[in-house]
């Protein structure tokens, strides 16, 4: 079986699902992950990507409170200057982000302003695909993190853990769509399980564990993957059992996802890439109530997450970054909300981040068709994280080359 498999991989020159390759074969092939770029990169570094789903309004997240133009375009939904959590004499955070402000004061938050890309797309679907594939010009199937995984673990190299990368949610986000690394999507700890009819579970396991290679080259791939699917839930619960959260997480779904993320990262599961999402930030009407609640949820969840990680002394190895498919229009609409816009700020948190503000707040008067102009391409942020945090050559993952930011 081993021989046939390596024969297939080499003679056809195609992927044979690294994620499900038998360990014996890995050893036989002497396969090793590709070395990281710089020697100074800690191989234990973890990336947590937080999707602010629906298009987060940047102007009410990072508020240019001293700019009269802001108050003119946001007469009802604007954040009052005396409530803003001031970052400097021009901008400040929405007061709902009080918990994030605490992390900021500790120097653990980098704020990157004016992030976007040329010819911005205002469709949720297309803009999300653009951010997650990092391919604004052409549609692409694989995600930017999926490509990172594929390049780090070529077809004949199995990641050290089947939970190397995990999406916390019911379906795999495009960002983690890889060609041969199998990324589990885990909606909840209990729900990630093979649910059999009453008493058939043992027999199902016997069928998958005993499945032979068969004629079709697909059959062995399916049998391998079936074993992962069958055993995955139990393996996950066993692996994270040795991690006890040491912070009080709020009860909302997002914070609970971060709690599971901490368990995955800090336990034997050995997870290095996590994708979580929070939303919906699609605030076309009555924005303040909705967005403020979500921002508070995000900030409080992150505060608990980093307190937990710090108590386990792994906070320095965990970098979180936010993104959203687009910012929103500068001018509020007639429903006290905002419509789909363009550039926005994003946050890079924790790890060895150099806290502070990166880039100017986009002008509220020099607009592009009523929208903010971006100055930092989102792929520059990806490139920064890939190169300076994960130790991976960005050119391997992103088409084109992008100047990295000094934030980590």
């Amino acid at each position: 079986m081993t021989n046939r498999r390596s024969f297939l991989a080499s003679s056809l020159g195609i992927a044979v699902l690294g994620g499900s390759m038998p360990l014996a074969l890995m050893r036989a092939a002497g396969a090793q992950p590709l070395p990281a770029l710089g020697a100074s990169i800690d191989p234990r570094n973890v990336l947590v990507v937080i999707q602010m789903n629906g298009g987060n309004d940047g102007l009410n997240t990072v508020v240019p409170y001293s700019d009269d133009a802001y108050h003119r375009v946001r007469p009802v939904i604007g954040v009052a200057p005396n409530t803003v959590l001031k970052l400097d004499d021009r901008i400040g955070l929405n007061p709902a982000l009080a918990s994030l402000m605490e992390l900021y004061k500790e120097g653990r938050v980098a704020l990157v302003q004016g992030v976007g890309y040329p010819n911005p797309n205002r469709s949720h679907f297309e803009a999300t695909q653009i951010w997650e594939t990092a391919s604004p010009e052409r549609p692409q199937q694989s995600g930017w993190l999926g490509r990172y995984l594929d390049r780090t673990y070529p077809a004949n190299v199995k990641p050290p853990s089947m939970f190397e990368a995990v999406a916390l949610g019911d379906t795999l986000p495009t960002a983690l769509v890889a060609q041969h690394v199998d990324v589990p999507a885990i909606g909840s700890l209990g729900g990630y399980a093979y649910n059999t009819i009453k008493d058939a579970k043992t027999s199902a396991g016997a069928l998958y564990d005993g499945a032979g290679p068969g004629e079709s080259p697909y059959l062995e791939m399916i049998a391998d993957t079936a074993r992962n699917a069958y055993h995955g839930g139990d393996a996950l619960r066993a692996k994270i059992a040795d991690y006890t959260p040491k912070a009080a997480y709020p009860n909302d779904a997002f914070s609970q996802q971060l709690k599971l993320a901490a368990q995955l990262i800090g336990s034997d599961a050995g997870t290095r890439i996590v994708f979580v999402s929070i939303g919906s930030f699609d605030t076309h009407a009555n924005q303040r109530a909705v967005q403020d609640r979500l921002l508070k949820m995000m900030g409080d969840g992150l505060k608990a997450f980093y307190a937990d990680l710090a108590a386990h002394q792994i906070d320095k190895n965990v970098l979180a970054m936010t993104f959203s498919e687009f910012g929103r229009r500068v001018t509020q609409n007639a429903s006290n909300g905002t419509d789909h816009g363009t550039a926005m700020p994003l946050f890079v948190i924790g790890g060895a981040v150099k806290g502070g503000i990166y880039g100017d707040h986009p002008s509220l008067t020099d607009l592009d068709n009523g929208d903010l102009k971006f100055h930092t391409d989102f792929r520059a942020v990806y490139a920064t994280v890939l190169k300076n945090w994960l130790g991976h050559d960005p050119a391997d993952v992103l088409a084109g080359s992008f100047q990295t930011l000094p934030l980590v």
Binding site: V177, Y194, L219
Partner: protein
């Protein structure tokens, strides 16, 4: 535009070509035995599979008869609604319009007496991948109806129709393509994804085709695509070596006349209906068939479905089932005539939500269908379905009574009946023994061995084990 070189190394996904070598006459009509396994293979590929009786009926017709019945179905189909109900389409609840339109189509896949027509509809949906994530549900339904009406006809006609289809016009922005402001989005995808393939045209060809496609505007109120001559560029264009004041029909005619186009379509059909990564000589042979037929899809499909290569061991169970093939096949096998309301959601978890392909590239298919998440979704769907007993509306028609009436409480014979109906015996002896073991042995859960008290539930369990075998993930 900048040269984007990243795409080609991972996209498109290349699947596994079966081991072994190509038949000497791969496209010549098959003249060997036409067994139950051959008939089931034909129904799975040219449709969505069937119950044991459907397979037996196809087998009794013989290969040419069974293929003719698919290509030229006689008699009326069920009276399916032409569109989803208005209260589904125009509800304020977008989720209802989405799932209601998906269920409208899935119902037809499940019950139609013309499975090949519906399979081709699904094929073109993946080929001209358009998504309800951007396009209103009513237009998606109309596009599916277009694929059904023309998907077995002439590709030249189909491509021209798709070019002025309202859903496509919204999806790839050709509605904004005017002489003053050309929009290349649609023209580019026609070349790259729909008809020629990367590397078979130049950037100038894209620009000139886009100019030829100008003027086809979309009226939001009537939901129609309308030609406005004032917005059309009728100046001279040079396209793929031809020069003239081309319009949409001219560009389509030039495209289909190209041998690279003919190979492109031949390859797409072979990948979908025969096996992954087909040999160049096989592609070339089918491309000639397609060209000689005058771009006739039904004739080309007839050649495929009668061919030696189609019935070869190399093609047998050689392609992973798509989630839709898997789920509809499951329901057809189980004799269910009602699409469970949760099926669109389940298909999303399996990686193929109908009407919502991930991008204009459609679904990668092949090995991309198979990962831990999608397999777990398949397994748990089967397990939940098999656990449902009548009179629940979604209960599969597993009929434990009919099975034991035929076999008695003889576990090996029960397993024989199940694996022969569900998988045409495509299982090893070890697998049979494991399932027999499930029926006969008490396990840690403490259930009693197979008998009068528990046969209903045990047979459902054995069916679930059978349907969740790796081999049932293959078409």
């Amino acid at each position: 535009m900048r040269d984007i070189k990243l795409d080609t190394s991972t996209d498109p996904q290349v699947g596994f070509r079966p081991p072994g070598s190509l038949d000497p006459e791969p496209l010549a009509p098959y003249s060997g035995r036409f067994t139950v396994r051959h008939a089931a293979h034909l129904l799975r590929r040219a449709g969505f599979g069937g119950a044991q009786a459907d397979v037996a009926r196809a087998q009794s017709l013989g290969m040419p008869g069974a293929v003719d019945a698919l290509l030229h179905p006689e008699g009326d189909d069920f009276d399916f609604p032409a569109y989803p109900a208005n209260d589904v389409l125009y509800t304020m609840n977008g989720g209802m319009a989405r799932s209601g339109t998906q269920l409208w189509w899935l119902d037809r896949m499940l019950r139609t007496k013309r499975p090949l027509t519906e399979k081709m509809t699904l094929f073109w949906h993946g080929h001209f991948a358009t998504s309800i994530d951007k396009v209103p549900a009513a237009l998606m339904a109309e596009q599916i109806n277009l694929f059904r009406a023309q998907g077995m006809g002439n590709f030249r006609t189909l491509l021209a129709s798709v070019s002025v289809d309202p859903a496509m016009s919204v999806w790839l922005d050709n509605r904004y393509n005017t002489k003053a402001h050309p929009n290349e989005n649609y023209a580019r995808e026609v070349m790259e994804l729909f008809a020629l393939g990367l590397g078979n045209y130049t950037e100038d060809d894209v620009k000139n085709a886009a100019r030829a496609f100008t003027g086809w505007t979309y009226n939001n109120k009537t939901q129609q695509v309308v030609f406005n001559p004032k917005l059309h560029d009728d100046d001279t264009k040079t396209f793929l070596g031809h020069t003239g004041p081309f319009g949409l029909q001219d560009v389509v005619a030039i495209i289909v006349s190209r041998p690279v186009h003919q190979r492109f379509i031949a390859r797409a059909l072979l990948e979908y209906f025969v096996y992954s990564d087909p040999e160049p000589e096989l592609i070339e042979g089918l491309a000639q068939t397609y060209a000689l037929s005058g771009y006739d899809i039904a004739k080309t499909m007839g050649t495929i479905l009668r061919s030696n290569v189609f019935y070869s061991t190399r093609a047998y169970r050689a392609i992973p089932k798509s989630p839709i093939e898997f789920a509809i096949g499951l329901l057809r096998y189980a004799g269910t005539t009602h699409v469970p309301a949760n099926l669109p959601y389940a298909l999303r978890r399996m990686g193929q939500e109908p009407l919502a392909p991930p991008s204009v590239k459609g679904w990668d298919g092949g090995p991309a269908w198979i990962n831990t998440n999608t397999l777990l979704a398949r397994f748990n769907y089967v397990n939940a379905l098999a656990a449902q007993a009548p009179p629940k509306a979604d209960a599969p028609n597993i009929q434990p009574d009919a099975i034991v009436a035929q076999t008695g409480f003889d576990a090996p014979r029960v397993v024989e009946a199940i694996v022969s109906a569900a998988l045409q015996d495509d299982v090893t002896r070890d697998v049979r023994e494991t399932i027999v073991g499930y029926l006969t042995q008490s396990d840690a859960v403490g259930s009693a061995p197979f008998g009068r008290e528990n046969y209903q539930q045990k047979i459902r369990g054995a069916v679930a084990l059978t349907l969740n075998l790796p081999v049932n993930q293959l078409n």
